[in-house]
Symmetry: C2
Subunit: 216 residues, 2 copies
Amino acid sequence: MREDNPKRLENINANLVFMSELVGTAIATATTALLTDDLSLAEQVISNDDAVDQLNSEVEVLCFRVAALDAPMATDLRMVMGGIRMATSLERMGDLAVHIAKQVRLRYPNPSIPADLQSTFQEMGDAASKIVAEAGRVIQSRDTTLADKMKQYDDTLDRLHRDLFTAVLSDSWSHGVEAAIDVTLLSRFYERFGDHAVSLARRVIYIVTGEPYANN
Amino acid sequence: MREDNPKRLENINANLVFMSELVGTAIATATTALLTDDLSLAEQVISNDDAVDQLNSEVEVLCFRVAALDAPMATDLRMVMGGIRMATSLERMGDLAVHIAKQVRLRYPNPSIPADLQSTFQEMGDAASKIVAEAGRVIQSRDTTLADKMKQYDDTLDRLHRDLFTAVLSDSWSHGVEAAIDVTLLSRFYERFGDHAVSLARRVIYIVTGEPYANN
């Protein structure tokens, strides 16, 4: 039985990488939907999230199967225990892409964001797409040096979120209260997306090194 | 070895119930801090969250220990697998209480919410406290009929959140953009708190009945 262990662990990893790809597509598509007020793209993000949820459940089953059948130790045990947490992070990131898409649907056919914030949200979308792509690479390669790059993208998302607050609260804000709330929530979704990616990277570092990591 | 299984499962359950109590204290304290602009209460919520995070990690270790040592089946297996998810929900609820407390700290010594919204946030705080108390009872008793009551409190939180949106966007809103964003975010934290409690209840239903449940 024990010779199946590496294969089962590979299977967990492959599922997590696949989840990261689906979430990458979701956040990129949600951003395009947001920037172009495209309802059908928004609907696509919303309905495709089921596949992410399904993989999340599958990873959970796989992790417990390895725990029960293979009695893993050390790195393998951390991988199996961390697998569920990483799947949870990716599932939450998928939910955040869905939140963005639902905001597009809510405002359609009106634009979801004022024209003068298009470039800000484009930047947020780019950073979010890059951070989840890195997350996929970190899961696949276990190369923890990639985590630093993720931190940079997360810093970008944090900065954009702060800048947006400043813009919304400045005297020159001319789009009213509803738009102010909309863009703040949207920006927060991107910022949280980055946080979850970083917490996933921390998990990988813990799996690889066994060193305790800060809680998310 | 196998005779220890019920004890280990009990231990998981006891940790989850304890987590629910800590989170109950956190949300009640955060609400009081919010309504009375009490910085020291807010700081208390923020620093006490470490204990919730710690329990979250402990539940994870316990669940994998049972999986590895006892090869649980049926309800026990679902309990062990669900334990990690329930701990995650409670940990997220604790984070949301912290988000509320941090908002109080951010605005201190200014009031965090306008006086005319005090009663709304009091209601939100009450519903959130009740829903987490029910969550603790559901975990302890496995009495899934209690889940219906939780759904009611969650409906209350959803309704209050919608009403708040309406108030903020009405012509009579006189508190400006910053306060509009603040109260919308705060209200969203309570609303999400309810969602996580309901997802936890769904998990218990799945553990008890084995029937598939909607994904959170």
